[in-house]
Amino acid sequence: MDALLTSNKEPGTAVKQISGSNALLNCLLAEGVDTLFGYPGGAIMPVYDALYHYSDRLRHILVRHEQGAVHAAQGYARVSGKVGVALATSGPGAMNLVTGLADALIDSTPIVCITGQVFAHLLGTDAFQETDVVNTTIPVTKWNVQVTEAKDIPAAVAKAFYIARTGRPGPVLIDITKNAQNELTPEIRYEPCTGVRTYRPKPALPIASVEEAAALINQAKRPYVLAGQGILLAGATDELKSFAEKTGIPVACTLLGLGAIPQDHPNYVGYLGMHGNYGPNVNTNECDVLIAVGMRFDDRVTGNVSKYARQARVIHIDIDKAEINKIIKAEIGIHADAREALAALTQRCDAQTHPDWMASFRALNDLEYEKVVKKEIEDTTTLKMAEVIHQLSSLTGGEAVIVTDVGQHQMVTSRYYRYQNPRTNITSGGAGTMGFALPAAIGAKVAAPNQQVVAVIGDGGYQMTIQELGTIMQDNIPVKILVLNNQFLGMVRQWQQLFHGKRYSFTELDNPDFIKIAEAYRIRARKVTAQADLTAALLEMLESPSSYFLEVVVEKEENVFPMVPAGAGVSEIILEIPKDKT
């Protein structure tokens, strides 16, 4: 049933009239919203005018670009588990949200974006700052709606929040015409939405499939769990641990699944994917039963699908039915909430150990240590990205919230930061959005003011949303910014070296003085160019009570290994650069 709207007055008494804008803000408060990330403009001005009177109840953070608002809302949502909210005006304001909406859709992040729109009578007339926001954002939202009358605002908000946070979470957009923001409407008692007739977010647990899966797992000699973000979204980290501990099954995490199981847990065997650990990738093609939980077999995880786990009998647990059999055919598909499914499986699975199988991961990872890790964090003479992240991990005990951008630094952070807790790895996964980290870190810090929040960014991505330093300055948000500067768009350069004959086509960056820029925004800043200064600089950054910018100049043409080359299978992962590519 959609939201019920009832008057808060006794029968026979006059109902107070309020503006659509006030109704909107009352609805947000009723949904438990405490923070908005936004940028004003013509078509959203009535909402901003109303917001002036809500500053004691709703914190508004003025970003410097609407893309910053949507990424900040994502960071807030990913850390808190609550719905993040962004505000923007019509036309270009709304269009600047599109990248973030696409990012939130593919990475299942619950956010609600509210956009102002031109007056209803001007819709479709090419009015000033009019764009067709609803039709533009259909492919990048879980749901969207246009509201043209004030009376429809509460029901739209209730439905939006319900859809954003239930089932497989995702972004929702509400486009509100200016007349609807201005019009008066009866003040009503807000009732949250508890269901939508055509939407079934939580499937019933298919017990028969669970029993079939348990039987398969009980017979398996080399079972293997691939843990995705669905574990974190379902709050199933304890259930995953119990399942792994009882069954003795090794667990590897996807990029967004990092943190689903502590990285010092004995069943954790590493990180999956193109630049993941050696053992988890190689053994994907050795396991006999593959148990994928809350993950969607992204091509960065599977490599060449025709060479992926052909020997394995696949069990796929996902709350999104469309993900099951989409990429990898599952012998047993379990369309269910990960928490319920894992709890039910644990009950039905035998207590087992798989010592030889587990040892095979260790042996492969030891090989990776000798060939890659040792060279990056022990036998180094120059500053390498891995050494920086390894030290950051040690100094924070793997307990900080780490927000990464996209590229080499992201892959290195995923490999070397030892995440201990859920909701501490915030990154742009499916969309690969450069420019994500700085604003997302702002949102993350606002959501978790008592946690250390470090944005790790490359010099390329940093400059895509660098204007958000202004937001950090104005709102005194004590985010720590760690830029690994190799003066290149490093990952593209790596591909150019390996697959394009070392033709570095437009990937070298002539960077500005980042220290001066940070200081211009009144952010304490330091630059490190020598290994000897690294630990002290990291400590200074971590101990700073206010925001801090640390630039580490790293080796210019460093490559990230291991790597599953484009078109190769996961077991064809390479540990070092082929001789003909050096």
């Binding site: 609803v134 259909i138 469309a322 989409k326």
Partner: protein
């Protein structure tokens, strides 16, 4: 896998943009739409239906069905091979319109 005709029948809430949402899913998967009939439900303009004659592989048809069912407004998406059901449903709808 060989491509063939399928009749896809969708029942959905009749909101603005619902046709766009449906067509978006098909376009993104590059499924060819040979014919399309959309209509309000008799006696309930808040619900609508769409009949589509598609040309695609059985595998993709099944995947697209689940992606269509993810749309919040879509109550049901069912398909059958061939165009017979499409023609029969169109004829039935036309008779209802005439009556």
């Amino acid at each position: 896998m060989n491509k063939q005709e399928f009749t896809l029948s969708i029942v959905a809430d009749n909101n603005f943009s619902i046709l766009n949402r449906i067509v978006n899913v098909l376009n993104r998967r590059r499924v060819r739409i040979k014919k399309l009939v959309a209509h309000e439900m008799e006696g309930n303009f808040r619900q609508g239906g769409a009949l589509l004659l598609l040309y695609t592989t059985p595998d993709l048809m099944e995947k697209v069905k689940h992606q269509l069912e993810k749309l919040i407004e879509v109550e049901q998406a069912e398909y059958s091979p061939g165009n017979e059901q499409f023609l029969a449903l169109v004829s039935e709808t036309a008779k209802l319109e005439a009556a």
